[in-house]
Amino acid sequence: MDCVVTGGNVKVLAKAIHSLSRIGDELYVEPQEDGLPLRSVNSSRSAYACFLFAPLFFSRYTITSEEAFRCKIAIKSVQAVFRSLASLEKTVEKCHIELDRKKNRITFTLYCKHGLLKTHNLSFQDSESLQAVFDKDSYANVFRAQPRLLVDTVVHFPPSLEEVTVAVSDDRMWFRNHVDDEAELSKAMLTELCLASDEFDHFAVRAHSSVTFCLKELRGLLVFAESTGLPISMYFDEPGSPVVLSVTDSVLEGNFVLATLSDDPNHRKNNTRRAHTPPPPPPDDFMNDDIDSYLIAMDTSMAPGPSATGPPTPPLAEPTYSKQPVAASHRTRIHSEEEEEEEEDEPADSDGPPNKKFCSLFFGSVLPPSSQMSTQPVKSQVVLASDSEDDTQAE
């Protein structure tokens, strides 16, 4: 592989890499004829991102017609090449990326002003292909908005917030912070923001649903979209199936695929406040906000505490939610191109304690056909993209 990025595109490439670094620690590179994809995935396989750069993005793009090449590089090393974005814009005229198969490294050469050349040799490791399989056309709910809208929404949530729940109705979208366990609910601050459909460039809802995913991983995409001014498209379905966010223009396409909490019918029953689509808010008048009944109940008790007149809290006998280690509790769905496997859903009336699980993404292993294609869903991570070389990697 041998390609050259010039002018403003160097900064775009750098921003994409910084964006990917918010997802995982390694950058997967797999140059192809139709473009250069750069991918990253997090350790629990619940977040995946891919930026695909078309050949036209580069001022020169040549790949050898040998067998397909893939590798992964420590993302911090690549970030170090493109460290200071502000100075990149001012000083770097072009960036030459070259693959050296013999020495197992990729060379990044920055051609800067005044004839200065900065050369970085980054070693890579061979890797399996990493590719999430998803079909944007199959999603029930599709939205597109200017990045400013989402950035302004996300600002209301604390930077440390892990999970956010997005719910939609025909003409509204709600963002709420998601609070994990019932115990925290009484102490946590709850934030909710409502957006109207006409704030979006495109708002198509076919299923009223709500999904919960990790907000932190999304922020990387928001930063990228805001700086490039590209509108963000959002696709989601029912809880459990991943949410996809993407930005596109003529020479690049960025896709962020985030796993969502799988919905549990038992859980939903108890959590009335966090129903799929919130009821219209009660009329906002003074008389409605009366907590005298609470006060009466409280005054008669020895110490202040939640009263019996509050909304029904789940009785202690109800199973509590254990956050299982994500790795162990994946619900894997593997779609290969050859076969469609039916996934076994958990029976809705299961007697066991309801488990909250993050649905993992689907990963097609794009290797030559092997027995891996027919692996049962139960074998959690076996089929997923390369983890066999997860031991310490030389930088």
Partner: protein, 280 residues
């Protein structure tokens, strides 16, 4: 028991947010006391806080365009809530550009102060963001702990030097010792002293002036040069100085010799009192 307030003016919202942010820097939790005319943020000087006490008084009319409340009963027309001011501060900071901000006492999964803001948008429908901050209702039998503190019988009262200057001095002293002595006299002089085995450092402030409390205050027979002093935990003093975001119109310090340091900050529509007990 009901409470509902609405802030429409941007400057008022900004000012209110800054007051709440200052409080959040002074203490993790405190009691918010609502009366028909005022709001108070109170920290009662219990041993658990290291005896530090705080009393912040705001006149509601200066901040709220609409303010309605109904207390616990007609005779006790007040509401006392235990809150975490940092949550309030965080919620308020994100809605500075709102068209209107409502603060209400509500009952969600538990009693909450709900901050609901209407944000400006280009579309026909306003964007509404709500923050539910959980609070604990303080029962009437505990109200006596949150009364207005009595002015201590101080020995000396003096105006404070510029808070920024004081802060930079105290910041450096904090690195040298855990305890600091504040002393002042009726001649407008104040010293901040630390003393360790290796070093002692004193910063002198002169010509500060003494507030005219009147004849019934500090004994008139007191020598103007005599210093009243109190030894305090330097971190408490630093905490007080760190939170101050606006220059007050008046800043005073009353010292009860080896008793307590009483700091008073007066702004146009907010007054803040902070009590730091002296340690041996």
């Amino acid at each position: 028991m009901k409470f509902r307030g609405k802030i429409v003016d941007v400057a008022c919202l900004n000012h209110f947010t800054r007051v709440v942010t200052t409080i959040s820097k002074l203490t993790k939790t405190c009691v918010l006391r609502l009366t028909p005319d005022n709001l108070f943020f109170v920290l009662s000087g219990k041993v658990a806080n290291g005896g530090v006490g705080m009393w912040c008084e705001l006149s509601q009319a200066n901040f709220f365009d609409e303010y309605q409340m109904e207390g616990v009963s007609p005779e006790d027309n007040e509401i006392l809530l235990e809150v975490t001011p940092e949550n309030l501060s965080r919620a308020l900071k994100t809605v500075q550009n709102a068209k209107a901000v409502k603060v209400k006492l509500t009952k969600k999964h538990c009693p909450c102060l709900t901050i609901a803001a209407e944000l400006p948008t280009l579309s026909s429908v306003s964007r509404v963001v709500t923050h539910d901050v959980p609070v604990d209702i303080v029962p009437r039998r505990l109200w006596h702990e949150f009364k207005e503190p009595i002015m201590p019988d101080f020995d000396v009262s003096v105006y404070l030097p510029p808070l920024k200057t004081m802060k930079s001095v105290v910041d450096r002293m904090k690195n040298l010792s855990n305890f600091l002595v504040i002393e002042a006299n009726l001649n407008g002089q104040m010293n901040l002293k630390i003393e360790t085995d290796l070093v002692s450092v004193t910063t002198h402030f002169k010509d500060l002036g003494n507030p005219p409390w009147g004849d019934d205050a500090a004994s008139p027979s007191r020598e103007s040069e005599a210093m009243a002093e109190a030894r305090v935990d330097v971190r408490r003093l630093q905490q007080f100085l760190v939170g101050q975001q606006v220059n007050p119109s008046r800043a005073m310090c009353n010292i009860v010799h080896q008793g307590v340091v009483h700091l008073i900050l007066l702004h146009e529509d907010v007054s803040l009192q902070y009590f730091i007990p002296a340690v041996a």
